[in-house]
């Protein structure tokens, strides 16, 4: 009986993940070494050309742009999110739950809805410009929509909680007596913050950065809606290789490269902090 149950449940998940996780991934890797052919999905002919193409300076620019935007988004989320997480973690418990609920509420709606909402806010005649104009802060409407700035704002808007939650979880479990001790020893508040609080929240910060940086490179629909259809993110590049250029092998090669970058990033992160489960719990 025990064995039946065990075989069934392990077999089920192993089978499912092998076919739809592993096999599909391997098929993609194989595809990335095949030759592009306009009339078929790919030609059964080994080539490295797809990877060589990616080192073309123009593709390289996209990588840089994508990294740059993801970096800006991560930095902004950290700067905005850390104080928020810190302040909330010092609230009384009931207030903490309330604050987190309010933080997460917009994120239970669809992410496309959020991108769309940002679009209507940033329009030339959107609320932002109307408000700034009527306050007399600007005289010409700001042209934000369809720029990199708009994409960056849209990404921050979508990803901020993924930064806040891991940091919050980290700070919330944090031993207050450490601060007391530092105070007793005569440390100034800024010193405590710099020398005690920040170092202890490094795992949360790293977790948050990983959860923000990686999606920021791939959320193609945000840059589709807010960025004026110029290829900005790696996600757009992959999307257009599959759905515009109909060049699946090169799209597969780009995806393999993206996965490799992420894997390296995560290995570094895993090396720094071993407790990954926490962050997924936190996101929930």
């Amino acid at each position: 009986m025990k064995h039946k149950f065990q075989y069934f449940s392990v077999g089920l998940i192993a089978g499912w993940l092998c076919v739809f996780g592993l096999l599909s991934f391997l098929v993609m890797v194989v595809m990335s070494f095949l030759q592009h052919d306009p009339d078929h999905i790919a030609l059964w002919h080994f080539t490295l050309q797809n990877y060589v193409d990616l080192f073309n300076p123009i593709f390289f620019t996209i990588f840089l742009k994508s990294f740059y935007i993801a970096f800006m988004v991560t930095a902004a989320c950290l700067l905005l999110g850390y104080p928020f997480a810190y302040i909330v973690s010092r609230f009384p418990e009931r207030l903490q739950n309330m604050a987190l609920l309010l933080l997460l509420l917009p994120f239970w709606t669809s992410s496309v809805v959020r991108a769309y909402a940002m679009m209507s806010l940033l329009k030339t005649k959107g609320l932002l410009n109307t408000a700034l104009l009527s306050m007399g802060l600007i005289h010409e409407p700001l042209q934000i929509l369809f720029t990199n700035t708009a994409v960056t704002i849209g990404l921050i808007y979508n990803l901020l909680p993924f930064m806040i939650l891991p940091i919050y979880v980290n700070l919330e479990r944090f031993d207050v007596s450490l601060i007391e001790a530092a105070k007793d020893l005569g440390a100034k508040y800024t010193t405590i913050f710099r020398k005690v609080i920040i170092p202890l929240s490094i795992p949360g910060i790293l977790g948050g950065c990983a959860l923000v940086f990686l999606p920021a490179m791939t959320l193609f629909f945000i840059s589709d809606l807010l960025g004026g259809a110029k290829a900005l993110l790696l996600g757009n590049l992959i999307e257009s290789q599959f759905l515009m250029a109909n060049n699946w092998p090169r799209g597969a090669a780009t995806s393999v490269l993206l996965t490799a970058i992420m894997a390296i990033g995560l290995l570094v992160y895993k090396f720094k902090s071993s407790n990954k489960g926490i962050h997924y719990e936190a996101v929930i």
Partner: protein
């Protein structure tokens, strides 16, 4: 709820839930076969037309949209089985799809309303025997300008867009052929150019335009024009007309250095899963009244000449939607180009969008 799970009743209750879920899962309206899957250009089929079709025939339309022929082509190639019953490629893609055996020859005996079409459009050079396609909408690509922002600018040619005045402000259509048409026309070449050297020159010409380009978009043009998110650039006549109804500052210009006339047609993919419904859909939209409704809703000119009688005078006389013959003479009909030229355009297009 908790009661179910705790004590003795839990197993039976869970089983019951499982059965309910399973039976729901199996019986749910999966087997809804009275449908037709239509894949068309965004904005080119009015939702009202679809709703009326559903009401009159009881056939449900799974309507999805694309923004460029490339997306349509890639989606059709992505799956071995045919998914769509009716698709709406532009002229030059019809030649290509017919050559690659992706679409069916039409059985005109099932289309009693076919006679409503203007014969001038039924045997175009992209489908010389008229056996694959049903022309649905026509369009002309020109320049729009918001006169509130540029009251006195003299804009009558494509080349005017190259002026450094318009830095970072142009809207270009998100469509490789459309943009290359501009690049070619301003150099005096035909938009249906197969000469690779000319295409390369056109590419260099477009690179010089890039500093002026603010964005590429072809699906949300009317809304952007009305709200003045963009104030100058290229647009289709119907979109510009639609916008000008709500924002009278918008002017549409047929460029003097020539422009392109395109036709988007309905075709039936090979092995369409609901072929009979596809014919019903096509015959339905070929009715004069439905075609007229389509024009009054979307403002795209139609090839359905019987529909013209049902149009309000204001529309029928609009020089933007139905330009005079003198203007039309300046237009090129867009036709197919060979694979090498198309590949070159698609390669240059990638480069343009990446810069």
């Amino acid at each position: 709820m908790k009661r179910f799970f705790c004590r003795g009743g839990s197993r039976a209750a869970l089983k019951k839930w499982a059965w309910v879920a399973l039976s729901l899962f199996c019986t749910v309206a999966m087997a809804d076969d009275n449908v037709v899957n239509v894949f068309a250009w965004s904005q080119e089929v009015s939702p009202k037309v679809i709703r009326q079709f559903q009401k009159d025939t009881g056939i449900r339309v799974n309507f999805s949209t694309f923004d460029s022929n490339e997306v349509l082509y890639a989606k059709m190639k992505a799956s071995k089985q045919a998914q769509y019953d009716v698709v709406e490629p532009s002229s030059y893609y019809i030649t290509r799809m017919a050559r690659e055996n992706m679409i069916e020859k039409l059985d005109l005996s099932k289309l009693s309303n076919y006679k409503n079409l203007n014969p001038a459009f039924t045997h175009p050079d992209y489908d010389p025997k008229g056996e694959y396609s049903i022309p649905w909408v026509l369009g002309l690509t020109g320049i729009f300008v918001n006169r509130k922002y540029y009251p006195d600018d003299k804009i009558e040619k494509w080349t005017d867009l190259w002026s450094p005045k318009y830095r970072d402000s142009l809207l270009l259509l998100d469509d490789p052929r459309e943009v290359f048409n501009v690049g070619l026309l301003t150099l005096g070449y035909s938009p249906n150019e197969n000469n690779l050297q000319h295409l390369q020159k056109a590419y260099q010409n477009l690179v010089a335009l890039l500093p002026n380009v603010r964005l590429y978009n072809s699906s949300s043009v009317p809304s952007m024009l009305i709200d003045e998110d963009v104030t100058i650039g290229m647009a289709w006549n119907a979109d510009a007309y639609k916008a000008s109804l709500q924002n009278p500052d918008i002017e549409f210009i047929y460029p003097k250095d020539k422009f392109v006339i395109w036709v988007d047609s309905f075709v039936i993919p090979r092995n369409a899963p609901h072929r009979d419904n596809a014919y019903k859909f096509l015959n339905y939209v070929l009715q004069a009244k439905i075609a007229a409704l389509q024009v009054t809703e979307t403002f795209y000119p139609t090839a359905n000449q019987a529909a013209l009688a049902y149009l309000p005078a204001k529309l029928a006389n609009s020089p933007v939607i139905f330009p005079s013959d003198a203007v039309l003479k300046q237009g090129y009909f867009q036709t197919d180009i060979d694979d090498n030229a198309l590949d070159a355009i698609s390669r240059y297009w990638d480069l343009l969008k990446l810069q």
